[in-house]
């Protein structure tokens, strides 16, 4: 890429530069001894071709839309169409959430993203003892197909794409979605959307697991197989680094651990007898976007390049779609501050730029008040507008991967790829991601990074505006969204009514059939679909599986 003959000349001018800056800093020291990236990596004062001496355009980057996809998975990226502005929303009852979805669609949101409440995510009905106080709090409560019908009432499932943040009981919620589609007259092959379905990161960072690793992996590969035949436009998994980063990881760890999880899913599917090019095109990813703009852009590019190489070289994928890392992004929840919440709008703007310059396929922008409570409607609108301003006004969407070729960006991209690969190699040595989670390696690495970050803030090594500098006296924030506690009562009552009105014999029959299937090796999806259609509840279905599979035990690393 660079003229090799000219490099020695460059070296000597860099030496001169170093001398010059040293003279300056001897007189007046710089603001910090070490400048660190958002992830705590040291950053040099200047980057030159010497930092990417081995850089080879076609090998390192290639054109957008071609291997190794460093510059993006589509040739013309946002010139064709902007990313999907997908706002994660859902709270209280299906009815209330349905209203919010309709509002978002009216405001120009191009895809739905369903947030479920915690009992739903852990497979408990609203009347379970552990659901007390949690029903409808962080998302919508879904107990049975009845709730799902209300949730998507008046929203044509052949017109929207729906992303569902659901993991341990993903197959049950997907089954309900398929059943709702059927009732609307939309066949399964027309359904578009994503289920998160990423259990490994639940064990690592997010905590809404139910079953042990082995049956969980089976449920996941069952979905892969079923969807490849019946729901071909569905993204069957969203392999998530988001929560790993939220738990305190560095950018390189986010890439390394997420791709290691990805490798585990591919291996599980291959072991289950699927062919790589059958399911790999439907794999998708989900990353975080933090405040260090350039590091984040480099992270997205590094992830894309590394995954392409893994799929091609390690798994022998031939279909280009199997090699493309498509990802959803959410701005970093843990970067939001409860202090001076309006400042969060600016943080989210920077993070939006990072995601867009990094080539995301879809984006959720957090609302300013999310460090305090669930977002209000006003806050959600500002967050969505942030995306629209970046998309239409900032100009960064006019050209594909506009930061490519920057010495800094390319050096950082190489570095993150290298560090991520080192993590993957280490995890391979341990025996794969599930083992590295079981023995706590991954959790420990993340926890160490998280603690370091906290210490940096407390020692004022890292400035967080409004938190450890530039504080003001503030009154309590106004206009926060509150979820009425009566939601729980309402859901409970509906469950009583449901159990009195449905065909309980049919429920019993489908649950018995499911239990038998759990003991065997059949694909479980058809059994689950049969059960949801006769209004077996989420809790009843997962209980059958809990009985057969047992429950996961967390390995906590502090």
């Amino acid at each position: 890429m660079f003229d090799k003959d000219k490099l020695p000349q460059l070296k000597s001018s860099l030496e001169k530069y170093d001398e010059l800056t040293k003279k300056m800093t001897d007189k007046r020291p710089e603001r910090k001894d070490v400048f660190k990236s958002g992830s705590g990596d040291p950053v040099k004062n200047v980057y030159t071709p010497l930092d990417i001496e081995e850089f080879d355009y076609s090998e390192s980057l290639g054109m957008p839309g071609s291997y190794p996809y460093t510059r993006g998975v589509q040739p013309n990226m946002y010139r064709g169409k902007l990313w999907t502005m997908r706002m994660y929303a859902g709270f209280a009852t299906a009815e209330e959430s349905n209203k919010r979805y309709k509002y978002l669609v009216e405001q120009g949101s191009s895809g739905l993203s369903v947030a479920f409440d915690l009992p739903t995510q852990i497979g408990y009905d609203s009347d379970h003892a552990l659901a007390e106080g949690e029903v409808g709090k962080v998302g919508v409560a879904i107990d049975s197909l009845k709730d799902m019908e209300v949730l998507f009432d008046g929203i044509p499932l052949d017109k929207v794409s729906t992303s569902m943040t659901i993991n341990a009981p993903a197959s049950v919620l997907l089954a309900m979605y398929i059943a709702v589609g059927e009732k609307q007259g939309v066949s399964a092959d027309q359904l578009r959307g994503t289920i998160q379905n990423d259990i490994l990161k639940e064990y690592i960072a997010r905590g809404t697991y139910i079953f042990p690793t082995e049956p969980s992996m089976r449920l996941i590969t069952d979905i892969f197989e079923y969807c490849s035949k019946e729901v071909p436009q569905w993204n069957t998994i969203s392999i998530s680094g988001y929560h790993i980063r939220e738990a305190g990881s560095t950018a390189a760890q986010e890439v390394g651990f997420t791709l290691a999880d990805g490798i585990a899913y591919v291996e599980a599917a291959l072991k289950a007898g699927l062919k790589v090019d059958e399911f790999a095109p439907r794999l998708s990813f989900f990353f975080n976007s933090h405040n260090d703009l350039l590091e984040e852009v480099a992270k997205f590019r590094a992830a894309r390049r590394l995954w392409a190489k893994i799929m091609k070289e390690r798994f022998g994928a031939e279909n280009p779609k199997s090699m493309m890392l498509k990802f959803h992004t959410q701005t970093g929840g843990s970067t939001l501050t409860a202090q001076q919440p309006d400042n969060n709008i600016i943080r989210v703007t920077i993070q939006t730029l990072a995601a867009v310059l990094g080539g995301t396929q879809s984006l959720h922008t957090n609302s300013r008040d999310e460090a305090l409570a669930l977002p209000s409607e006003d806050s959600v609108r500002i967050a969505l507008r942030t995306q629209q301003i970046v998309g239409h006004e900032s100009g960064v969407t006019n050209s594909v991967d506009p930061l490519a070729g920057s010495y800094f960006i390319e050096a950082m991209t190489d570095k993150i790829e290298e560090e991520a690969l080192a993590y993957i190699t280490k995890i391979d040595e341990i025996g794969g991601a599930p083992k590295a989670i079981d023995n706590g390696y991954i959790q420990q690495e993340i926890m160490d990074a998280a603690y370091q970050y906290q210490k940096d803030i407390e020692s004022n090594d890292r400035v967080v505006v409004g938190v450890n500098q530039y504080q003001i006296k503030e009154g309590p924030p106004k206009g926060l969204l509150r979820v009425d506690l009566s939601v729980g009562e309402q859901q409970k009552k509906q469950l009583v009514d449901l159990k009195a009105s449905r065909d309980n014999d049919a429920v019993e029959k489908t649950l018995v059939a499911l239990k038998t299937a759990c003991h065997g090796t059949d694909n479980l999806m058809p059994y689950i679909i049969d059960a949801v259609k006769v209004y077996a509840t989420l809790g009843e279905i997962t209980q059958v599986m809990r009985d057969v599979f047992g429950e996961y035990q967390q390995n906590v690393m502090i």
Binding site: L118, Q121, V138, E202, L374, A450, Y451, I457, E458, P476
Partner: protein, 131 residues
């Protein structure tokens, strides 16, 4: 007090966001305390039961699920029932400012919201623990 302060770091509720709980657990340990960590999804009954068997000086509950208004007062009530109100009960997490007075009234001695330095929590515990 020359014996180490014993703290139960508990996660009531169903949310799995334990970064805060783990960071505070480490910070308390580094401040010389004995920290008993309970893991996720603990019911108020489990928390109070553990606190009593471990004879802790402090319960520090971390909750981000939004169920604080239900679960934290229940822990207080159980402590009262067990005649264990001498245990210093503090909480942290995503808890709106408006909710705090009611929690304080119901026996939670302090609520630490996001952005609170761990040193503040450590100091509060050191100064307020039963002597």
């Amino acid at each position: 007090m020359d014996r180490p302060i014993r703290v139960l770091v508990a996660k009531p509720g169903l949310d799995g966001h334990d970064r805060g709980a783990k960071v505070i657990a480490r910070a308390l340990r580094d401040a010389g305390m004995e920290v008993i960590y309970t893991g996720l999804r603990q019911t108020p009954e489990q928390i109070v039961n553990a606190a009593i068997q471990e004879d802790v000086d402090v319960i520090a509950a971390s909750i981000l699920s939004g169920a604080h208004a239900t679960l934290l007062p229940r822990i207080s009530a159980l402590l009262k029932k067990e005649d264990a109100e001498d245990i210093l009960f503090v909480a942290g997490g995503v808890i709106p400012e408006d909710d705090i007075p009611e929690l304080i009234e119901k026996g939670i001695k302090a609520v630490f919201t996001p952005g609170t330095p761990t040193t503040v929590t450590v100091k509060f515990i050191e100064e307020n623990v039963r002597k």
